[in-house]
Amino acid sequence: MIENRPFSTFLAHLVLCIGVVIVALPLYVTFVASTLSAEQVLQSPISLIPGDQLLNNYKTVLFSGAGNQSAQVGRMMVNSLIMALVIAVGKIVISMLSAFAIVYFRFPGRTLAFWLIFITLMLPVEVRILPTYQVISDLKLLDSYFGLTVPLIASATATFLFRQFFLTMPDELVEAAKIDGAGPLRFFKDVLFPLSKTNIAALFVILFIYGWNQYLWPLLITTQESLYTVVIGIKRMISGGDAATEWNLVMATAMLALLPPVLVVIFMQKWFVKGLVDSEK
């Protein structure tokens, strides 16, 4: 698209602008709503100009909680953060180690292990949620960080991705390391891990967001407000029943909930993009 044709340029821009409006408008409305007072937000049509309650609203949700429940969004954010981090890091560690085992070691049942992992790819969280709930509940792990995070850590997808990556490593690299005297763990630490860095970064971003956005599982597993994640928190704020929903506070919470994934993407962007396009071998 190097040629200079005014009409197609105009058309391209038009399409882009429409796209931006479609994506950005709801976000903007959310932001505006989070700066209004409780009365203003209920007016129809809703104002498209930010109000003056920004600091107030955010302070309220962060430190004193909102709606029919008293949990602070600050607390929820911490819970979400713990959950997202544990899941992302846990998944990466476990899947890297299992992929390492599957690719580099010949042990009995290796193919079987691979296929078992591979088959679980077909089973998303929602499908195995009831048996998993049963297990966690029998283990008396409901309402704990352990119950919240560990069942989501096992990851076929990440294992599979690492396996594919390891398989693209030239055999000679392994052999050179063998001749250099590096044992398996040393090879993992000195060669495989550094070479996987970009993949890890990309996976971290994806998994962090995956963990942050978990809804169904925390909803089942947590009953105490002190363990609510921010996604659950938003839901609880809305289901007011007879009490009026304070939409300005809900929107403020939503804005806050948006923040960490956005930050992670921005900070990891360089690595993330590199991991998706690059193969440094």
Partner: protein, 354 residues
């Protein structure tokens, strides 16, 4: 430095035999080149010495010790791979010192060795680059450097030059030669390239589908090929072969053409079937009257200093080296002869030299 011995070494993958028993002693400081067609088991043999492939049968000795059960790192060998196999995320310096670090050598010793190797290989100014920032030839040198710093008893090379372009390959070949003169480490070198094999080796080993066809100095192998296979494999263009039976002092080809040979080896009986081999450079252009046979030129290949004329005699392709000045053209008839001392005789059934 050390001696390497193969005692009835065999290798099979499942029930496919790949190496059928190799017996060979490589002397201390000797440079032995293994050549052979693709898939004949050269790499396999080398990798068994390195400890990267388990040995199915027989024993390999390095420096008076059986190494069959030893891990690669305990064999005191260093290997250079065709694709270099450098660690992509490490600098040249780290690549070279990694093995030493694992061996827990002191920092000072490591830098001393790396510096020395870098100097020999002219890598000193590249030490802080990563392999990605190097050319193919430089990567190759780093791979050599990684082998040198180990100061191993044996060097193993698996087609180390075949990823380089023709010119660089010649340069590196000379450097390999220099390096060997300097270090005098026992070396096993696998290659496809005849010229590499001829120029580098103290002795060369010609392999064919898992057996050793011939071991000898390049001169021996070229001048007295032990079998038809070796005669065919070594030398470009390949040796001419004419098959037939002895009829008195003449050879009668399978198609019924006859030509006078003169002296036959005494072991060839009248009526015995043999293959006569003669190298293109040993066919001489002679006056018609003295010709043993003649060919019509079907094609001429100019290769700089020489030209090769391709023709046919009784169903056998005959190649003859021509002086560029001859001025022969396609379609001309070439009356040819050879010195009976310079021909090779092979048993028609076994392919062995007579």
């Amino acid at each position: 430095m050390a001696q390497v011995e193969f005692k009835g070494v065999k290798k099979s993958y499942g029930n496919v035999d790949v190496i059928h028993g190799v017996d060979l002693t490589i002397g201390d400081g000797e440079f032995v080149v293994i050549v052979g067609p693709s898939g004949c088991g050269k790499s396999t043999l080398l990798r068994m010495v390195a400890g990267l492939e388990p040995i199915t049968g027989g024993e390999i000795w390095i420096d008076g010790k059986v190494v069959n059960k030893l891990e690669p790192k305990d064999r005191d060998i260093a290997m250079v791979f065709q694709n270099y196999a450098l660690y992509p995320h490490m600098t040249v310096r780290q690549n070279m010192s990694y093995g030493l670090k694992i061996r827990k050598m002191s920092e000072a010793d490591i830098s001393a060795r790396v510096a020395k190797a870098a100097e020999i290989l002219e890598l000193a100014h590249l030490l802080d680059r990563t392999p990605r920032q190097l050319s193919g030839g430089q990567r190759q040198r780093v791979a050599m450097g990684r082998a040198i710093v180990r100061e191993p008893k044996v060097f193993l090379f698996d087609e180390p030059l075949s990823n380089l372009d023709a010119k660089l390959r010649v340069d590196m070949r000379l450097e390999m030669q220099k390096l060997h003169q300097e270090l005098k480490v026992t070396s096993l070198y696998v290659t496809h390239d005849q010229i590499e094999a001829m120029t580098l080796s103290d002795r060369m080993l010609v392999m064919n589908s898992g057996i050793i066809e011939q071991v000898g100095t390049p001169k021996e192998v070229y001048e007295r090929p032990a079998s038809l296979f070796v005669a065919n494999f070594i030398g470009t263009p390949a040796m001419n072969q004419i098959w037939g039976v002895r009829a008195g002092q003449s050879l009668k080809t399978d198609q019924g053409d006859m030509f006078h040979v003169g002296e036959f080896p005494s072991t060839i009986d009248n009526g015995g079937r043999v293959a006569l081999g003669v190298r293109p450079e040993h066919l001489q252009l002679v006056p018609e009257a003295q010709a043993r046979f003649s060919i019509a030129i079907q094609m001429i290949e100019w290769v700089g200093a020489d030209a090769y004329a391709y023709g046919q005699f009784a169903n056998y392709r005959v190649i003859c080296r021509l002086d560029n000045a001859t001025g022969a053209r396609v379609g001309d008839r070439l009356p040819l002869s050879f010195d009976p001392m310079r021909v090779h005789w092979f048993d028609a059934d076994t392919g062995k030299r007579i």
